[in-house]
Assembly symmetry: C2
Homo-oligomer: 395 residues x 2
C-alpha cells in the first residue's frame, strides 16, 4: 500500500491540513468498519454467551500479540489499557516504596504523569527530583544527545533514587531519549531504580523494541501515531515488575479465577487489566496496525516521517520571528518552534488563525510554543501550505 | 415506542432467547449507528482540533446530565468511568484511612470489588468484616427484608466500621437492598462510615434516585440494563466524598488546567476521570437511554421487568429438582435458582445444554446456581421456552 492509498482511507485528512498526529491520529475508514463489524459479531454471538467468549478472547490475544511484537517482548508482558495514563500510573501504585525514596522525573513529562507522581509522593512520603533534559534536547545535536542525557542522569541520580520517569520521544521538544542506555545505567545503581517510560509519542512513530524491552513500564496508546481508535492502549512491563508489583485498580480481569474474590492475580501483565472495556476497539487497532505494516516497516515509515519533519524544520529556518526548539532536523515527526519576534502573536492566536484556514497544529505550555507533527500521510504540499500560512501570520 | 419496537431494534435478540441482561444488555442498532456517526463527526471536525472540542464537550455534558438525572444528583457529582470497577475502586483509594479501620462488606458483592477491598486492607492495615445479607435476602419476603437487613447491619457495625460495601440490587440473589435506609443508619454512627454501592445491576433496572443520592460512591455501567455500549459507565459521588477524597489514577482529565502539573484537581467529580477515553461511546449510551425513556418511565419499565421475572419465578416453582433463591417473586429482573435433585446436572452443564438451543442464561459461583434475567424486551413466549427447556434438562 502506498502512502497516498493510506491517506485516501482517512476521512479526517480530507478538507483539512492536519499536523496534530501527536494529539490524535486519523482513523482509517476500514478501521471504523472493523470496529462496527466487531460490534455486530458480538451482538450476533452474544453479547453475553458462551458463544461469544472465544471471539472476544481471540480479539484480545491478537492485539496483545501485535503490541508485544512491536515492543519486542512476550505477550505475557503486555497489559491492555484505556490510555497512556492508565499504563503509566496503575503499575506505579503497585510498587513498594520506602519513605524518602526519590522519584526522578524529567522536565519534559506530561502534566498527567507528573501530577500522579506528585500525589504518590505525597501519600507515601517520597521525594521528587527533576531530571533536566529539555534544554539539553534543544541545544544538543543528535549525535551528542545520548552522552548529554546520560551526563544529566549521572548528575541527578542520588543513592535514594528509586524511579526515573522519562518519555521515549519528548512530546514538547520532539527529541528521542536513549532509553536503553538509561536502563543500562540504572542497572548499575545500588537501588536499581524503576524506569517508567511514557511512550505516547513513540509507539507508531519510531522503532521502539529496544527501549520497550529495557523499560520497566513502557506505556503507550493506539490512538496517536498508530491511528487506532481512542480509548485503547497498552503497557509493556518488565519481568521484575511483574514479580514485585501488585495491582491497584482491581476488577474481574485482574483475577485468575474471575468468579472468586479469593483468587490470586493473573501471573502475567493481565493483573493490571481491570474490568469490562470496549472490545470492538481491538478490531480497530488491529486494522490500523495492519494498514501501517502494509505501508512499510517501522524503519521505512520513520524515514518517511523524517522527510516531512525535515522539510518543515528547514522551511521554518527561513521564516523570521520564529525559532525551532531543535537545532537540527528532528529525529522523528514532532516539530516544535517558538515565536520570538517583538509583538509576535501568542501561540494560541496562531493556532486559532491557522485553524480558520483548516490548518491544524497545537500550542504547548512548557515551553510555550507551537508544535506541528508530520506522519507518513503528510504530503510535501501540506508542509508548504503550513510554511506559507505561518510566514503570513508572522509577517 | 412499544417493547416490541425496541426489541426489533436489537439484533442481538434475533435468533436467540436471551436472559443475560445482567451480564450485558443488547445494543440497539440505532445506538451503534449513533456511535458510528459520532466517530465520523470526530473525524470530520478533528480528531484533534479546536473545531472538535465543543462537540466532544457537548457529548460528555449530555451524558453526564442524563446520568445525573437518573441518579437524582447534580451533574458535578457524576464522574464518567470505563466500568463499574473503576467507579467503585478509584474513589476508594483516595479516601483517608487509619490503621484498624474496618471495611464491612456484604456477602453478595462481586469478586472484583471484594478483591480490591482486600488489597486496600492489606496495604493500609485495615480489617475486613462480612455483612451477611445473602441468607436474609433468600429467606425473607420483600416486606420484611428492609428490617432484616437493618438488623444484620446493626449486628455487624462496630465502633471501627469505616465503610460499608453493599450492592443496590444483589447480583446473585436478585434482592433489592434498602440503600437509603442503610445510609441513614450510617449517619448516626460515630465514624460516619462511607457507603459504597455497587449499582451494576440497578442502573436501568429499578428506580434508583433515592439510593444514588444517599450513597457516597454509587458506581454503575451503561452496558447492562441500560443497553449501552461496553466500556462506559459512571459513578455518583457524595458531596462529602468530593470534599475529602483525592484522585489516585490521575491524568489530564483530573486536572483543572490540563496543561500544567501544578494544577489543582477539578473541584467536582471530574477529578476521578483519568485521560483519553472512547468519546463515541457517549452517543451510544445517550441513544440507548433515550430509547428506554421513550418506552416508559423507570417505574413503568420496572413493572414490565417484574411481570417477566414473576412469570419465570412462578414457572420455576412447578419444575421438580430446582428451587428459586428468593421465596417470593423477584423485586426486579434477576431470577436465580439452585438445582437440588439427586444426580442433577451442574449449573455449568445446564448453561451449555441450553446454549445449544440458543437459550442463554448463566451460572454463578456463590451461591452455586443459575441466573436468568428478564428485561423489558423479554417476551412471555421466551419465558415459556426457558421453562420448557429447563424442565426437559432436569427431567
Amino acid at each position: 500500500m502506498s502512502y497516498a492509498e493510506l491517506r485516501a482511507r482517512m476521512p479526517a485528512l480530507a478538507g483539512k491540513t492536519y499536523f496534530n498526529y501527536g494529539g490524535q491520529g486519523p482513523l482509517p475508514d476500514s478501521s471504523l468498519e472493523a470496529i462496527t463489524a466487531s460490534w455486530r459479531t458480538i451482538q450476533e454471538l452474544g453479547p453475553f454467551t458462551s458463544a461469544v467468549w472465544p471471539f472476544v478472547e481471540s480479539q484480545m490475544a491478537a492485539v496483545r500479540s501485535r503490541l508485544a511484537a512491536a515492543c519486542g517482548v512476550g505477550p505475557h508482558r503486555i497489559a491492555l489499557t484505556e490510555n497512556v495514563t492508565s499504563g503509566c500510573v496503575l503499575p506505579l501504585w503497585g510498587l513498594q516504596w520506602q519513605v524518602g525514596d526519590e522519584l526522578l522525573i524529567s522536565d519534559c513529562e506530561h502534566p498527567g504523569v507528573v501530577a500522579a507522581c506528585q500525589e504518590l509522593a505525597r501519600r507515601d512520603g517520597l521525594s521528587l527530583a527533576v531530571l533536566p533534559v529539555q534544554a539539553i534536547s534543544a541545544q544538543t545535536g543528535e549525535e551528542q544527545l545520548e552522552a548529554a542525557v546520560l551526563t544529566s542522569l549521572e548528575q541527578a541520580l542520588t543513592p535514594r533514587t528509586r524511579m526515573v520517569v522519562l518519555s521515549h520521544l519528548l512530546w514538547n521538544t520532539g527529541a528521542v531519549m536513549p532509553i536503553a542506555r538509561v536502563a543500562e545505567r540504572l542497572q548499575g545503581h545500588g537501588r536499581q531504580p524503576w524506569l517508567l517510560v511514557d511512550a505516547a509519542q513513540s509507539m507508531g512513530c519510531i522503532p521502539l523494541a529496544e527501549a520497550a524491552a529495557a523499560a520497566d513500564i513502557y506505556a503507550f496508546t493506539g490512538h496517536k501515531w498508530l491511528c487506532g481508535p481512542e480509548g485503547l492502549g497498552g503497557v509493556a512491563l518488565s519481568e521484575r515488575l511483574l514479580e514485585q508489583a501488585e495491582p491497584t485498580l482491581i476488577g474481574w480481569r485482574s483475577l485468575r479465577h474471575e468468579g472468586s474474590a479469593g483468587s490470586s492475580w493473573h501471573g502475567d501483565a493481565r493483573r493490571f487489566e481491570v474490568a469490562t472495556s470496549c472490545v470492538p476497539l481491538l478490531a480497530g487497532l488491529a486494522s490500523s496496525m495492519e494498514l501501517l505494516a502494509a505501508v512499510g516497516s517501522p524503519e521505512t515509515r520513520l524515514a518517511r516521517i523524517r522527510a516531512g519533519s525535515a522539510q518543515l524544520w528547514q522551511g521554518l529556518q527561513q521564516i523570521p520571528g520564529l525559532e525551532t526548539l531543535l537545532q537540527e532536523p528532528p529525529p522523528a515527526g514532532l516539530v516544535s518552534f517558538r515565536l520570538t519576534g517583538n509583538g509576535a502573536p501568542s501561540p494560541e492566536a496562531v493556532v486559532a488563525q491557522l485553524g480558520e484556514q483548516a490548518i491544524w497544529l497545537r500550542s504547548l505550555d512548557d515551553p510555550h510554543c507551537l508544535r506541528a507533527c508530520t506522519h507518513i500521510t503528510t504530503t510535501a504540499a501540506e508542509v508548504e501550505l503550513l510554511l506559507e500560512a505561518l510566514a503570513e501570520a508572522l509577517a
